[in-house]
Point group: C2
Chain length 333, copies 2
């Protein structure tokens, strides 16, 4: 009998989640039933959008149920299988994170090849990478010569966006908070200009200095004042891919910025929100590109790792306090 | 010798323009020179975007020069011509409004057929109509079944947008301020639902009541709280055509709204700003459609007329105080 610890949502957080909003439970897993597979999770992903599901606001995915284990991307190893398509030792991706192990019908699992390190399927080769890929290539419709601005550039999605834009030959400006992240952007990700927004009295002026030619694409992870700066510095016909607004997720009062949205009219800008889930048809081409780029040394995993499920909440809050660099992961295996 | 009165910009307005920002001058027009045409203006158009050119902010068109006559769309009749393409009596469109008559090179004039009443070429068959047409058909990419919300629906552009959306079979919700405009929207323009934003404590709630099925297209003339309400009530994949933000033009402080732009991510919305000037290639098809729709009784001019160039500033300020309905015009001829 396998014991799995899992993190349950006990009440809906107000503002930043605190420990009492959650509980840790241990459940005993029986052997997998007919058509079921038993999986021991190796890694689970932590991402800002999970904050939305902790609230009960209407969204594109239902909120987490109270008293139950939360969900999120995870990769694990098959321990036992009652399905012919999967065998012990196989690497599988699922949405059944926030727990150490589980039994699930085989159709809830996706097999992954061991071509890349397992956790890559949660990072640059997972939904995080797909978000960056679709946002730049499809939503912003990146074209030669575009100057690209990426906010939260040291984060999970941002760090992949910077790398994709770089390997495609674009000038990339990344913003992040604090000298460690700025060093990470310049040295690890190779951005052309890095803006420490915490050190800049005016983000707009800093962006205008970093991109005197203006920006053509803005990859927005942040919203708020970053979006305002991007509107101010955008060139005519610039495209903004809006993939998340981390500045808003924990907010109990809605943000007032941006105050200059009228620039979208004057400069004929296109701002488009999207979620990667709606673009899963791009998955095969995306994975092939990522594997090729990784093999060519053009993209590398950027990750912050917390060890053990008992650190999962620290990992989650670390996203918002801006502790980590790259994709935030919890190692379970 | 023809005498023409003209309105000159004497200083850049702060907030709402006042009489002292302008002067009225009389100029004597000599006979037209070689290649020139002499035109007596019949009608001039007044539109909110002119406010932008009164300031010296960088924009897609240069600011008006101080001490000179302002510019804007006008239709006039040729009085004398030194160009073989134009003859006395011809109807011509130009950007040489804010004056009663002028001499200009023939290439600054566009001949118009007398198929429609002359002032229609400043309204539903002019840049005003083209703005509505391009915004709905190209930018918002109107498709069957879309529910359409139009703000400033009783205004020049808005009244054409409502009529185009109606004649294409859409449910149309229009917003405007005051009972007279609401009656105009319902009785003259035939909108399905009219929202008097001045009478509603919550525009969002009013819009949600008018469109319980949500909105798919938002034609934004206003920005600010209207944009916020549209974001709140938008359906997934809704498209917003942003053609102007009249709530901002006279503002000395930038607006704080909308506070819920994160909805663009969650609902995968596209917000696109545009200016009709960039879509002049649509002019032939647009004019043909407008003439056909007018002949079929599907579209009608909606206009507020001020008589005489001495009323031009009243006409302009009337746009912002919300006096007029439909296109605001000054009759000169």
């Amino acid at each position: 009998m396998l014991i799995s610890r899992e993190v349950r949502l006990e009440r809906r957080p107000v503002g930043a989640p605190v420990a009492d909003d959650f509980s840790m439970a241990s459940v005993e897993l029986p052997p997998p039933g007919a058509g079921e597979v038993q999986v021991r999770n190796l890694w689970m992903a932590i991402d800002p959008a999970m904050r939305g599901r902790m609230s009960d606001a209407r969204s594109y995915v239902p909120p987490f149920a109270l008293g139950e284990a939360m969900e999120g991307p995870a990769v694990g190893e098959v321990v036992a299988s009652n399905d012919p398509a999967l065998a012990p030792g196989d690497l599988v991706w699922s949405r059944l994170g926030w727990r150490e192990a589980f039994n699930a019908p085989a159709e809830r699992l996706e097999k992954r090849e061991p071509t890349l390190p397992p956790q890559a399927y949660l990072g640059f080769a997972g939904m995080t990478g797909l978000t960056a890929y679709v946002g730049l290539l499809d939503i912003a419709a990146l074209k030669p010569g575009d100057v690209v601005f990426v906010s939260a550039a040291a984060g999970g999605v941002g760090s992949v966006a910077c790398q994709i834009a770089r390997l495609k030959g674009h000038k990339v400006i990344g913003s992040a908070g604090g000298p460690d992240k700025i060093a990470f952007l310049k040295e690890r990700l190779g951005v052309d200009e890095a803006i420490d927004y915490k050190a800049e009295p005016s983000l707009t002026k800093a962006l205008a200095r970093a991109a005197p030619e203006g920006i053509d694409v803005y990859f927005d992870n942040v919203g708020g004042d970053h979006l305002q700066a991007a509107l101010a510095v955008a060139n005519r016909h610039a495209r903004f891919a809006l993939c998340g607004m981390i500045s808003q997720y924990n907010a109990t009062e809605p943000s007032a910025a941006p105050r200059n949205l009228v620039q979208a009219v004057v400069k004929e800008l296109r701002l488009e929100g999207y979620i990667a889930l709606s673009h899963l048809h791009r998955q095969p081409e995306f994975l092939a590109d990522m594997i090729a780029w990784h093999a060519a040394g053009l993209i590398e995993p950027a990750e912050t790792v917390y060890d053990g499920i008992e650190r999962a909440l620290d990992a989650f809050n670390g996203l918002f306090s801006g502790e980590g660099m790259g994709k935030t992961l919890v190692r379970l295996g």
